[in-house]
């Protein structure tokens, strides 16, 4: 992460005890913290359930997640069968106008399909019994980036990549890297299918090291060239959207890569990279930045890197240790990350106990700066402070305003049953949504709102004014600074 806008919490690290497991039982505050980090937040019922669990059991239940098949998206489109009907010759024979019409039709179906998959994924984040699996898929998507609709990457291809990320959610990082390297969407996104013996294309070889596994300054330009040679030979068939290896297009000469010499192929390159201590440090930093706090201390990174190597890059035991650790539950890690737009949107529905995310989330996410399957570039989304500008904050607020209304009070698992007294009602809102992370003056404002200070006539909270006041108060509670932070 070489972006600006990432900040380490103040205070100092207790390096000796950082990764030791925390003893005892969770409470509402630490349960909500765990659920925000290992997922997208909890609804009040989930938080209450986790709050009664010992730390180890709570983490285990997130790590040993059930195999959740879930429903597939409604519309996973691929133009392959349509293109196959024409065939390569038929496509060449089309006039300009027909060609244009054909691809315009394809593009329209693709846009619809992408929206369907985006909405499907958001709802899966909201409702999956395996939230950590979805969180890992989202983090992988921002890390091993590919974007849809460009370079012949169809919705079906990006969906398959998404499923690959889900399958490796807590799997082996080396194996995931080997597989994602040969994933059709990735091969197209970074020009891997234009990389042939004698005319290497270095795009993937470079990003593999710079952005995916090692970071800049940990390899030479010559390593990029040699790696590109090892990756030659992959092709793509757009009539069935499969990637395949063509031995005669592969450079099977001897390569010298990161100090080793041999007739390497792509798998060998990944294996050599993962044998570098820097690779473990790189992923350790990524995990800490994603789950604990930004800009972690080098000694903490080294400890997690050792753990990764000890477990041969298996994520399940490493994530289990990280989510139980003292440093994870430390005050320095608490609310120390900025919610991404996706975390904000899903988290808002979680907090309100709403059953479903509607299509209005899609344009809203665009305006907040995060469109699923469209990372801004191969480096992924710059997070941390970069998420927050006046315009994106306004969009976040306006999204809350749109989803908090009479109908959502009805659908909410808990908002329709607040106490009818102002103080307990305000207290419950702040407890359920923010785990108490509100300033006294803010709670005072909330009480004023519930007590009718904003309406023409001051009147006690009653069935008559309940919807209007409680929706206003829920909006106000989620507008408080803590709600922007994970």
């Amino acid at each position: 992460m070489d972006f600006g806008g990432y900040y380490r919490p103040v205070g100092s690290l207790d390096a000796g005890a950082a990764l030791a497991p925390r003893a005892g039982t969770l409470d509402a505050r630490s349960a909500a913290h765990l659920l925000r980090r290992a997922g997208f937040g909890g609804n009040p019922g989930e938080i209450a359930r986790y709050a009664a669990m010992p730390v180890g059991a709570a983490v285990e239940s997130l790590i040993r997640f059930p195999n959740v098949p879930g429903a597939a998206p409604d519309d996973v489109y691929s133009p392959a069968s349509l293109l196959q009907q024409y065939g390569a010759q038929g496509l060449r024979a089309l006039g300009d106008v027909q060609t244009k019409a054909l691809y315009r039709g394809i593009r329209e179906q693709e846009q619809r399909s992408v929206a369907s998959i985006q909405l499907w994924w958001l709802n899966r984040m909201l409702s999956s019994a395996a939230p950590l699996q979805e969180k890992m898929a989202l983090l992988y998507h921002g890390h091993f980036t590919s974007a849809v609709v460009i370079k012949g990457i169809s919705p079906a291809m990006i969906y398959n990549q998404n499923q690959l990320f889900r399958a490796y959610a807590l799997g082996n990082l080396r194996e995931l890297t080997r597989n994602v390297a040969k994933d059709p969407a990735m091969l197209r996104y970074l020009d891997g299918t234009s990389n042939v013996a004698g005319q290497p294309n270095e795009n993937f070889a470079r990003e593999l090291m710079e952005l995916y596994t090692l970071g800049v300054d940990h390899y030479s330009e010559e390593d990029v060239r040699q790696s590109a040679r090892a990756w030659t030979g992959w092709r793509f068939d757009r009539f069935n959207e499969e990637a395949f290896f063509v031995p005669r297009l592969h450079d099977d000469g001897v390569k010298t890569f990161l100090g080793q010499t041999g007739n390497f192929d792509g798998d060998d390159v990944v294996n050599i990279i993962f044998a570098q201590p820097q690779c473990a440090r790189f992923f350790a930093g990524w995990l800490l930045n994603s789950f604990v706090y930004n800009d972690p201390e080098p000694e903490l990174v080294d400890q997690v890197a050792q753990m990764l190597r000890r477990h041969d890059y298996e994520l399940a035991p490493v994530m289990s240790a990280l989510l139980r650790s003292n440093v994870f539950y430390s005050e320095r890690a608490y609310r120390a990350l900025v919610k991404s737009p996706v975390e904000f949107v899903v988290g808002a529905h979680k907090a309100l106990g709403l059953p479903e995310i509607g299509p209005q989330a899609l344009p809203a996410l665009r305006q907040m700066g995060q469109v699923l399957f469209y990372p801004p570039n191969v480096a992924g989304w710059p997070g941390g402070q970069n998420w927050l500008t006046s315009a994106t904050i306004i969009q976040r607020q306006n999204y809350l305003a749109r989803i908090v209304n009479s109908q959502s009070l009805e659908q909410s698992s808990w908002l329709h049953e607040l106490p009818m007294q102002v103080k307990p009602a305000a207290q419950k809102l702040v407890a359920q949504i923010l785990q108490g992370d509100a300033a006294p003056a803010a709670i005072f404002q909330l009480e004023g709102l519930l007590g009718g200070a904003g309406s023409s006539a001051l009147a006690a909270l009653s069935a008559e004014n309940y919807d209007e006041r409680v929706s206003g108060a829920a909006y106000l509670t989620m507008s408080m600074p803590a709600f922007q932070l994970a």
């Binding site: 103040v10 608490y334 941390g384 970069n386 006046s390 607020q397 305003a401 909330l446 106000l476 932070l485």
Partner: protein, 406 residues
């Protein structure tokens, strides 16, 4: 100064944020380097001609027979070109723009591009916006300008993107730039009552919180900006009146808002506007002619409006496009992604005329025009000679400036 006091006056009653540790670091980083005198009220308007504007049919080399040889279907007929000289002329749809050129308000820089050009819209747009052809950079060149310029924290509109989403060129590490596609839509949803809005403003600023976070000061600062800027904007620009006849196009509406913001003296240094799409792979003429006509008419109205308010010398407009297009037309009477192309600098402050060198139509880079002026030279010119800032850190290198500003 007057502007600043005015804004401060409007927020009495709100707690002005005592900023946290990052703001302190920011203040240190933002110590201004010596600027040029007189750059104080200057403004840059950046127009992104999205999709890759075909330079050869925009600034037409009508004196070169080869142009007509490679473009039998789409070349602009010699008699239609708005001739600048015996070699070059403007697209016939750009009549109003040609009149501005004739008055010396337009500088044309020819053959602008960068080494090892990328032909992806996506990546090349990013390169133009980040000014980083050889590395991935998440801040834009104007975002870095803001980070270094040390402009008053309280100027909420020091940069404005007249667009839905903040373009990469204005992404910075430390400066909050609002994107305002139209003034009516920029704001908290109005179905919340005034009490809630006030309560939001206050709860957002209360620091007595039972936790700490490295981002808390930033969240509060941005929430304060969002609240104030969205409440203030309509009132701040309400006094501006214009008689200029803007065309009823998106670009016309965007530039009308730009002129209104400039004329309302909010301390705005940079505005961003987009126009397009110029991605003319098929039947180029109809699309590009329409877009160039819209550009020409909107620009003319914009500068009329600016001039009527005495702002035309304060505002420099710079265009860019992610690439030019292939020299040879394709079978569909369009052109594919190319490389170098001309760009425009417009305003009362420019020395009008032609700059740079027209690329050779014969000695090409696989059918594409080789660039003769590095785009970062144009940026360096704007930074140093218009905005009064050093350019080497923003551009991560030293690029010669062009003598095109008066």
């Amino acid at each position: 100064m007057k502007r600043l006091n005015f804004l401060m006056g409007t927020v009495s009653g709100l707690t002005v944020v005592a900023n946290g540790e990052h703001v302190f670091a920011r203040a240190l980083a933002a110590t201004p380097l010596p600027g040029l005198p007189g750059s104080g009220d200057r403004c840059l308007v950046l127009i992104n001609l999205q999709g890759g504007n075909d330079g050869l049919n925009c600034v037409v080399p009508h004196g070169m027979p080869q142009y007509y040889q490679v473009r039998p279907k789409i070349a602009v007929p010699r008699g239609d070109v708005l001739a600048i000289d015996g070699t070059l002329g403007l697209n016939p749809q750009m009549r109003a723009f040609k009149a501005m050129y004739d008055k010396g308000q337009v500088a044309i820089v020819q053959g602008v591009g960068y080494p090892d050009p990328d032909h992806s819209h996506f990546r090349s747009t990013e390169i133009w916006q980040t000014a980083a052809p050889a590395r991935y950079e998440h801040t834009g060149w104007l975002g870095r300008y803001f980070d270094e310029a040390g402009l008053p924290e309280n100027d909420l509109f020091k940069g404005v993107a007249v667009s839905q989403v903040l373009p990469e060129v204005l992404v910075s590490n430390h400066t909050d730039i609002p994107s305002i596609p139209n003034a009516g839509n920029y704001g908290m949803l109005s179905d919340r009552n005034a009490f809630e809005r006030r309560a939001f403003a206050q709860t957002a600023q209360d620091r007595a919180l039972p936790f700490s976070s490295p981002y808390l000061a930033h969240v509060m600062e941005i929430e304060d900006h969002a609240q104030r800027s969205s409440e203030e904007l309509p009132r701040l620009i309400a006094g501006y009146k214009t008689d200029a006849a803007y065309p009823a196009t998106e670009l016309g509406r965007s530039l009308a808002l730009a002129a209104q913001i400039v004329g309302s003296n909010l301390g705005t240094k940079v505005l961003y506007v987009a126009h397009g799409s110029f991605d003319t792979h098929i039947n180029q003429k109809a699309v590009q002619d329409r877009l160039l006509g819209e550009f020409s008419d909107a620009l003319a109205a914009f500068y009329q409006d600016l001039a009527a308010h005495g702002n035309d010398r304060r505002v420099l407009t710079l265009t860019f496009s992610e690439f030019g297009r292939r020299i040879e037309e394709n079978a569909g009477a369009g052109t594919d992604h190319g490389e170098a192309s001309p760009l425009f600098l417009i305003g009362g402050g420019v020395k009008g005329g032609l700059y740079g060198t027209l690329p050779d139509l014969a000695n090409t880079n696989m059918g594409n025009l080789r660039f003769t002026t590095d785009f970062r030279s144009v940026y360096a010119t704007v930074l140093e000679r218009w905005l009064g800032r050093p350019s080497t850190t923003v551009l991560a290198g030293s690029f010669p400036t062009l003598p095109l500003l008066a």
